[in-house]
Assembly symmetry: C2
Homo-oligomer: 81 residues x 2
DNA sequence: CTGTAGACTGTCGTCGACA
DNA sequence: TTGTCGACGACAGTCTACA
């Protein structure tokens, strides 16, 4: 093997706080991952990966996510760092 | 012709305002692309692509860029939208 | 409802080079 | 100093499916 297809990295320390923040925003809005993913027009499994700090989203994905959570981009990335 | 290797997309409307903002921040600090890229530990040519709205950086790249420009993440992405 | 696995396409991100 | 090109490895992002 060594085919390494579907990216499934372990939790990345750098991305973890962001993921927790996204989850907090979603919970605060009382939405399921599926609902947010649908509104953001992104994959539900991918959103799960983001919340768990396993994915490294691009700027365009962040824009979609902000839309899905109905917050502006600044609030989306305004976590502790 | 149709081999499409080294990513060299045309300007993406979605990414353009962000690029202009990054350029403004860099100019305000009186830095060259090379200096910022070095401090951010990223490729200079790639930074050029970002400023021109041709690249779609990931969250980790944004974190690096904030470091290179010596601003926090919020200021980095706080452009008009 | 959520997490994760497999498979696939397309792009990210780097390096070296040249205008 | 900046933009862009070629090549290439690695990963983003999607879809189906199952616990």
């Amino acid at each position: 093997m060594l085919l390494m297809s579907g990216r499934r990295p372990n939790t990345t320390p750098e991305l973890e706080p962001f993921g927790l923040h996204i989850r907090a925003l979603r919970k605060a809005a009382n939405l399921s991952q599926e609902e947010v993913a649908h509104r953001a027009e992104m994959d539900r499994g991918y959103l799960s990966g983001i919340e768990n700090g396993k994915r490294n989203p691009t700027l365009t994905q962040l824009l979609k996510l902000a839309k899905g959570l109905e917050v502006n981009l600044v609030d989306l990335i305004n976590y502790g760092e």
